[in-house]
Structure formats: structure tokens, C-alpha cells
């Protein structure tokens, strides 16, 4: 710990911008980042949810009982946003069924379950030794086919992000990893700096960007040294050392830190000429292009005092968290929490049978002493500590009041949706109000309302479209009838032309009056019948009375 303190002084920051707020929770990264990245024995089964990224899932290419090789494609991306899935090791498809997945809700999702055969046998690989001879569109295709999603946060498909054709000012490589405990990127940068920088150069080639800002927090001196060495004398890549403060690694905060600019609300970094990629993504891109390996594994930090061997491990996608915990010397405490992600933004797992997915960077199993569960929520004392900590300069205490009052319009006016859910406000709140929890609930509510509205709007549009169609059909019918009548008239007129001209009038008018007379007679008869019926009813009712 003191070691990292010393180095914090030694590595001075060289960024010009800064963002407001932010907090300095204890870092607790040392145990995990001081070892190399370990590989673990294969688990008994790998659980691969078919949908691991934003967007729809792909079509299945395999069926239960089938034998697969390492790297073999399991699903085919159906739409532009989808990503294919690959077998992380060789084995047999054990089942394709619903399994609990690593999601805050813990709801089961369709997953491909593989029983490894222990051979770890690769299928075919298409290596590209010199990507500069390949077209950009082909590289994008390869990245897409390798199933690479952003390994930092939301898991947005990388090729998709790269393919947006807008002029770039800077390509930003995010090696900040500001959450306490997590050291996965740190470990990766220390051990694979050359691969990461090679990946960055591929990204540069794809985006035609000649300015790369490679950002690392100043509490990672070893990673900084490694990356500096890997960059060498490449003048297009600038290493930016940012001060240690949470949440410096947030996309928007990092952009403000590096450039002094803010991404306008509702816009993407791309819109103002920035593209951000995580270091893990750069590494995965390099593996995919140069070695022909799809994304099969990632670095996961195993940490927390309930874990004996705190360290970084290589975890195959689909590895059950239970397996990782067992291999790391985990002893469950009473009231044990197992958190996927860090203490600030991670979520507690409802079950440890859930698998590692592309965005799993940390498994944190803290003891109660280490991260005490929050005490009872007290009333807000308007101390403003939350507002001071908010990197988005929101007024968390106001948002909290409005969220409790369900005043959704006012929440919108106070820009609830600009909250990045970093948790800094809740971290500092002396009344231990679970602020982020209230915001999530309110956001979900507002989204629901919007969805309902959209549904209603959709229904209205459908209704109106139907009305229009009916009206149109009616008009068409009338038109048809009119035409038919005209045609009839014409033929009649033609017919009439053959007999005399005055006899033409008579049968028509006579016909008309006859029809009218018949109708009147019919109406009269009906009325009479009704009157008679009413009389009968009356008399029967009277009879009942007497």
C-alpha cells in the first residue's frame, strides 16, 4: 500500500483538464496487481449466455451432443448489432437451456453449456501477419467475427463503434481503471503492454487517427512504465497520466480530464471527434487480427477479504464464478456478498453459478468488516456532500427528493438521465441514503412510462392507419359502385336508344314509384306488427299484476 503511495508522487500527472467532484475511496488494489496473471484449471462446464452485449442475440449454429473445437463459432450474428459466440475450449455441447446469468436481475437466460474435454484443441485460425495489407472493412469484419465487445463497461460491439465514419481528433485508450479493488487492466498492461500497443496501432489504422491519448491513473506506476516502453518512440501515441480520483475512468469524465471538453448531453464522444477504447479491447483486437483468435477469455481480478488468494486470473468466458472462487480460496462469511465488478458500480450476484461474461472484470467477495453494509437510511440533511462529489454536477439531494415524490417531470428538468450512476454521491452521503438505488428506480419508471406512451402512440397510429384504410376502402368501393352504375346507365341508355325515346322515361319513373310504394307498405306492415306485439306484452304484464 505504502508502495503505491510513494509512486503516486513519483508519477506526476500530465493532463490539463479536470472534472468536478469525484472521491478518493481506499484503493485496495495492491494484492491483486502485484502478481502476474494466473491461468486456472478448466472448470467442469462453461456457461455461455447467447446474449452478452447490447443488441439481439445470434442464431445457434450448434446442437446438444455436438463436439466443438476451441474457437469454433457457436452462434451467428443475425443483425448488424449482434456478435457471434465461440467455444472457449474444446468439448461437447452439453445443453442449450436457460441458466441464471450475470445480470443484476439474475433472471435466467438462454445459454450454451459446454463440457470441456480437457484437450483445449484449437480449430482453424485465420492469422493475418500484416494487417496493413488488408482493407479496413475486412478488419472490421474480422473484429466483428471475433465477437469482441468493449471490455470496459457496457459491452458495446467494438466493430460497430469503429465503423462509425466520423472524423476523429483523438483515439483515447482507457487504462484508467479507477474503481477500487479492480486491477484487471493494470495486470494486463503490465504483462502484455506490447500486445496492447500493437492493438492500439491496429485501431489507429482502422480509424485513420494520428493522435492517440493513452490514459493511465497515476497509481499504476508499473503499468505506466510498461506502456511507456511499449510505445517507444512512436510520436503518435501520447501517454497521459491522470490523477487518482474516482471516477476518472468514466468515459465522459476521462474526456473532460484529457481535453477539457464535455460531451454534450445526449451525444456520443464520436460526435465531438473522440473514440474511446479500453486497453482490454485493444488487446483482444490484436489477438483477433494477428493471431486469428476470437475473444475467448479475459482477465478477472479475484479480490476481497473472503478470498485467500487475491490475484488476477485468466478466466475463460463462461467459467462459473463458483469455480473462480473455489480456485481462489474463498470462505463464505455470514451475510456474504459476492460482487461482480467493483464496490462502486458492481452488482451483487444472486447466485455464484453465474458465468464470467465479456464485461466481467472483477469478482469481489468482501467481509463485513471490510465493506460494512450500509446502516439504516436517515433523513437527508441537505449537507450537499453529494453535490460536491458528483462528477456530473447534478444535485443528487434534489434528485433523491424528487425521485421519492415520483415527480418525473422535475427529474427530467434536473437532468436525471445525465447521472452516470457512479455512486460517488451515495458513497459520501452521511445519512447513508442509497441515492443511486432511487435514481435507478426512477429511471426505470420513466423508461416504462415512455414505453407505455410509445405503445399507446403505436396503437393510436395503428388505429388511425386502420381507419384510414377502411375509409379508403369505402371510397374505393363507392367509386367502384359509381363506375358500375355509370356503366349500367350507359348500357341502359344504349338499350333505350333502340326503342322510342319517350317510353324510356316511363318504366324508370314507374319502377321508382313502385319501389317507393312497396317500401312504404313494408314499413307500415312492420309498424303494425310492432304495435300489436307491444299490446300483447302490455296485456300480459297487466295479467301478471292482477
Amino acid at each position: 500500500m505504502s508502495h503505491s503511495d510513494n509512486n503516486t508522487i513519483y508519477v506526476s500527472s500530465n493532463v490539463s483538464g479536470h472534472f468536478p467532484g469525484g472521491i478518493h475511496p481506499p484503493e485496495r488494489k495492491a494484492p491483486a496487481c502485484n502478481n502476474s496473471i494466473r491461468s486456472l484449471p478448466l472448470p467442469d462446464e462453461l456457461i455461455l449466455p447467447v446474449r452478452q452485449h447490447i443488441g439481439p442475440s445470434g442464431n445457434l449454429l450448434v446442437e446438444p451432443g455436438q463436439r466443438v473445437d476451441k474457437g469454433q463459432q457457436l452462434t451467428e450474428a443475425s443483425l448488424s448489432l449482434g456478435l457471434p459466440l465461440h467455444a472457449p475450449t474444446s468439448g461437447i455441447i452439453h445443453a442449450i437451456e436457460e441458466r441464471p446469468t450475470a445480470h443484476a436481475s439474475g433472471l435466467p437466460e438462454l445459454a450454451i453449456v459446454i463440457k470441456p474435454d480437457g484437450e483445449d484443441r484449437w480449430g482453424n485460425k485465420h492469422t493475418i501477419p500484416d494487417y496493413r495489407e488488408v482493407e479496413v472493412s475486412r478488419l472490421l469484419e474480422l473484429i466483428q467475427q471475433a465477437g469482441i465487445a468493449g471490455l470496459g463497461g457496457a459491452g458495446f460491439p467494438t466493430a460497430q463503434k469503429l465503423a462509425q465514419q466520423k472524423p476523429l481528433r483523438h483515439l483515447i485508450i482507457n487504462g484508467v481503471e479507477c474503481e477500487p479493488y479492480i486491477a484487471a487492466d493494470d495486470g494486463l498492461m503490465q504483462a502484455y503492454a506490447d500486445d496492447i500497443v500493437a492493438g492500439v496501432k491496429i485501431l489507429q489504422y482502422i480509424t485513420h487517427c494520428d493522435s492517440v491519448l493513452f490514459a493511465i491513473e497515476n497509481n499504476k506506476p508499473k503499468a505506466i512504465d510498461a506502456i511507456l516502453a511499449a510505445i517507444g518512440d512512436d510520436s503518435q501515441i501520447a501517454l497521459k497520466v491522470v490523477p487518482t480520483k474516482y471516477p476518472s475512468g468514466g468515459e465522459k469524465q476521462l474526456i473532460e480530464l484529457l481535453t477539457g471538453e464535455q460531451v454534450p448531453s445526449g451525444k456520443l464522444p464520436m460526435d465531438i471527434g473522440f473514440l474511446m477504447q479500453n486497453v482490454g479491447t485493444a488487446y483482444a483486437v490484436k489477438r483477433a487480427i494477428i493471431h486469428g483468435e476470437p475473444l475467448l477469455e479475459r482477465v478477472v481480478t479475484m479480490t476481497g477479504d473472503a478470498i485467500a488468494k487475491k490475484r488476477n486470473v485468466w478466466a475463460l468466458l463462461g467459467t462459473p464464478i463458483e469455480h473462480l472462487l473455489k480456485e481462489s480460496g474463498f470462505t463464505a462469511q455470514t451475510k456474504q456478498r459476492v460482487i461482480m465488478g467493483g464496490p462502486m458500480m458492481g452488482f451483487t450476484l444472486p447466485s455464484i453459478e453465474v458465468p464470467v461474461i465479456k464485461t466481467t472484470n472483477c469478482v469481489l467477495a468482501p467481509t463485513e468488516e471490510e465493506l460494512p453494509a450500509p446502516g439504516p437510511e436517515l433523513a437527508c440533511i441537505r449537507c450537499g456532500a453529494c453535490a460536491d462529489a458528483c462528477p456530473a454536477t447534478l444535485q443528487p439531494q434534489q434528485l433523491q427528493l424528487l425521485a421519492k415524490a415520483k415527480d418525473y417531470d422535475a427529474l427530467d428538468e434536473q437532468n436525471l438521465f445525465d447521472c452516470i450512476e457512479c455512486g460517488a454521491c451515495a458513497y459520501v452521503c452521511p445519512s447513508e441514503i442509497p441515492l443511486v438505488h432511487y435514481y435507478r428506480k426512477a429511471k426505470a419508471e420513466i423508461r416504462n412510462i415512455a414505453r407505455e406512451k410509445a405503445k399507446a402512440e403505436h396503437a393510436r397510429q395503428r388505429f388511425e392507419a386502420r381507419q384510414e384504410r377502411l375509409e379508403r376502402e369505402k371510397q374505393e368501393r363507392l367509386e367502384r359502385h359509381r363506375k358500375a352504375a355509370e356503366a349500367r346507365k350507359k348500357t341502359q341508355a344504349e338499350k333505350a336508344e333502340t326503342p322510342s325515346s319517350d317510353s324510356k322515361e316511363k318504366p324508370e319513373s314507374g319502377g321508382k314509384s313502385a319501389a317507393v310504394a312497396a317500401a312504404i307498405a313494408r314499413a307500415k306492415a312492420k309498424k303494425a306488427a310492432q304495435a300489436q306485439k307491444a299490446d300483447e306484452e302490455n296485456s300480459s304484464a297487466k295479467g301478471n299484476e292482477s
Binding site: 472534472f19 468536478p20 472521491i23 475511496p25 477500487p180 465522459k252 473532460e256 464535455q262 454534450p264 448531453s265 451525444k267 463464505a332 451475510k335 456474504q336 456478498r337 459476492v338 460482487i339 465488478g341 464496490p343 462502486m344 458500480m345 458492481g346 451483487t348 450476484l349 447466485s351 455464484i352 469481489l364 468482501p366 465493506l371 453494509a373 450500509p374 439504516p376 436517515l378 433523513a379 437527508c380 440533511i381 441537505r382 449537507c383 450537499g384 456532500a385 453535490a387 460536491d388 456530473a392 454536477t393 447534478l394 439531494q397 434536473q414 437532468n415 445525465d418 450512476e421 455512486g423 451515495a426 458513497y427 459520501v428 452521511p430 445519512s431 447513508e432 442509497p434 443511486v436 435507478r440
Partner: protein, 352 residues
């Protein structure tokens, strides 16, 4: 195995509301010690009375409002309100003064408005103002500091006076104040106010025994005591510097210019800063988060407003001090201050 589900973040900083309030109590210690040195044991009795009343009133309100009693009592806010009120009133004020004031502060100002966090006004100051307008005589009966007064009461004499309104020997507080030469010793701010209306110049007034080398005898040390406690709070990050700096600047800057223009009529910035309830107000009362502005810019504006109001009330108003009125008036302006000082949200910079 079942696991605990919790919402992020999963950690928390050290500060809790109750520990913050506890720190406020600690920070009051230097000022209170100095105050009891100069003004006798009375202040301790007042604190004890106020705390007991506050805790009983708070419990009763919480029970009446059907709230979980323990967690609400544990936040220590009633404690702080009680102590602030107790040290603001004259140490020899009769016991029912502090009891009424505390009851009003806790029951009406705090709980009628919805309890902790909901009150629009600073409870201690609202209680103080109620007492000041209802019982002006008792509320201005300050004995001169022991260094210049002729009487320093023993523990027993003090208690007797607070309970029965006269000393065991039968002197009323008024008689004690008058002293043997029959001249009532006013507080320094009082002395300035009345002295000026009687046509004395400030230099003449400063010759009175109430004044010593900086501001008022005794008072200046009490103020310095609260200043030290206040700095401790800032250092511990219990309060931010914005409000106290605002208050002191809002009071001293106009006082400085007024003094430049009319040195015979306007008390200088140092006298203002170190007399009356200036430091207590700036660091402990105006900073009550519940009734203060929330953003940093807002806090500066809020502080400046209080300082300016104190200056105006002291210079031209009907009361010698005015901190309590200034705080309450500024409390009323908080919604509008908050509205106009709300910082621009990330990503909304270009708008407007």
C-alpha cells in the same frame, strides 16, 4: 448458499450524520470552555437543561409521529440544536427560558415542518428569536465577564439563580449587573449601540471597561474559541469553508468601508468579527446544512447575505447583535439562492 443482495455502491465513507453532529459538539468545546471561564458555570447548567429538554421533546415527537425512535435520536441533531441555543442565551437566564426555547425549536420549528431535514429555519435560531421577542429582559441579562465584573458566582449560587431568579443572598440578576456603582454593564455591542445614540464617539465608548485590546473583553476570546472550533470542523471536512468565509466577508468588508468613512460612528471590522455571536454564527449556526444553501456558489451567497444583514442590523437596526435574525432571513432566501446558483450539469454547457 444464499447471498446478500445490495445496491451499489457497496462501500461508504467514514462520515455519518451522527458522527458529523458529534464532531460539531466537540468543536464547540473550546468556545464553551472560554465562555464558562468568563461568564460562569451558568452556561453548563443551560446546556444540561437544554439537552434534557431536547431529547425528551425529540423522543415525544418521534413517538407521536410513529417513527423508529432510536435511529432518529442517534443522529444527534437535537443535541446540537440544544447546545447551540443554550450557549446563545445569557448564562443566568431562568430555567424556563431555555426550556421554552428548546421546546419551540424542536417541536415547532423542526417536527411540525416534517422533522429532521425538512425544517426551513435553523431551529436554534428560531428558538432564540422567539425568546428574544417574548422575553427581552431575561434574554439580554448578560453579566459582565468575570475579569471586569465584581461578582463571580459559585456553582451553588449559579444554580440557585437559574432556578429561582435570584442568588441565595437575594440579589436579582439585574442587581448583579448593576454592580456596586449602580452602572449596568451592557455587552460590548450593546454599549456601542447605546453609547452612539447618546452621542458618544466610538473612541470614548472603547474606553469603557467592556472593551479590551481587540474587541469586547471576554467576548473576543469566546469568539476566538469558536473560530478555533470552526477551523477544526473545516479541517475535518464536516463543513466547507464557503459559508463561514461568506459570513465573515459579508460582515467585515462593509464594516471596513463604513469605518473608513466614519471612524467615529462605525465599529471596525475587528470589533464586528470578534464580538457578539459572529464566530458562533459563522461556523456553527449558518452552516446548519438543513436550512442553508446547498451548492458551493450558493453557500458563498448565503454567507455573504448573512454577514451583510448582521452588519445592517448591528449598525442601524433595533437589536445590538442580529445574527439570529440574519440567519432566519437568509434561510428564507435559500430556495431562490439554490435556484439561481445551481451549477450547469455535465454536457449542458452550451445551452441557453
Amino acid at each position: 448458499m444464499s447471498f446478500k443482495i445490495a445496491s451499489s455502491p457497496h462501500g461508504h465513507s467514514q462520515h455519518s450524520t451522527s458522527s458529523m453532529m458529534r464532531w460539531v459538539c466537540y468543536a464547540l468545546v473550546p468556545g464553551v470552555l472560554i465562555q464558562s471561564y468568563f461568564f460562569g458555570f451558568g452556561v453548563w447548567f443551560q446546556i444540561v437543561l437544554a439537552v434534557i429538554t431536547a431529547l425528551l421533546a425529540e423522543s415525544a415527537c418521534i413517538i407521536a409521529r410513529d417513527r423508529p425512535a432510536m435511529s432518529a435520536l442517534r443522529d444527534n441533531t437535537a443535541l446540537v440544536t440544544a447546545i447551540l441555543l443554550a450557549i446563545s442565551i445569557p448564562p443566568l437566564a431562568p430555567w424556563w427560558i431555555i426550556v421554552i426555547g428548546t421546546l419551540f425549536a424542536i417541536v415547532v420549528v423542526k417536527h411540525v415542518y416534517g422533522g429532521m431535514g425538512q425544517n426551513l429555519f435553523n431551529p436554534a435560531m428560531a428558538g432564540y428569536v422567539l425568546l428574544l421577542v417574548s422575553f427581552p429582559v431575561q434574554m439580554t441579562n448578560w453579566l459582565p465577564p468575570s475579569t471586569i465584573g465584581e461578582h463571580s458566582l459559585t456553582l451553588w449560587q449559579t444554580l440557585h439563580t437559574i432556578l429561582f431568579e435570584y442568588t441565595p443572598a437575594g440579589y436579582s440578576v439585574e442587581q448583579l449587573r448593576a454592580g456596586i456603582d449602580g452602572v449596568t454593564m451592557a455587552t460590548p455591542l450593546d454599549a456601542i449601540k447605546t453609547g452612539l445614540t447618546q452621542g458618544f464617539t466610538l473612541t470614548e465608548i472603547y474606553d469603557k471597561p467592556q472593551f479590551s485590546f481587540l474587541a469586547g473583553a471576554g467576548w473576543q476570546w469566546v469568539n476566538l474559541g469558536f473560530l478555533i472550533g470552526g477551523l477544526l470542523l473545516i479541517q475535518q471536512r464536516i463543513i466547507s469553508w464557503h459559508i463561514p468565509v461568506g459570513v465573515i466577508a459579508g460582515l467585515c468588508v462593509p464594516a471596513f468601508f463604513a469605518y473608513l468613512f466614519a471612524p467615529d460612528l462605525m465599529a471596525g471590522p475587528i470589533v464586528h468579527a470578534l464580538s457578539g455571536a459572529t464566530m458562533l454564527g459563522a461556523f456553527f449556526i449558518a452552516t446548519d446544512p438543513v436550512s442553508a444553501a446547498t451548492s458551493n456558489r450558493g453557500r458563498v451567497v448565503f454567507g455573504l447575505l448573512i454577514g451583510l444583514l448582521v452588519f445592517i442590523i448591528r449598525s442601524w437596526g433595533g437589536y445590538p447583535d442580529g445574527v439570529a435574525f440574519a440567519v432566519l432571513l437568509a434561510n428564507m432566501c435559500v430556495p431562490i439562492i439554490d435556484r439561481y446558483t445551481r451549477p450547469t450539469v455535465y454536457g449542458h454547457g452550451e445551452r441557453k
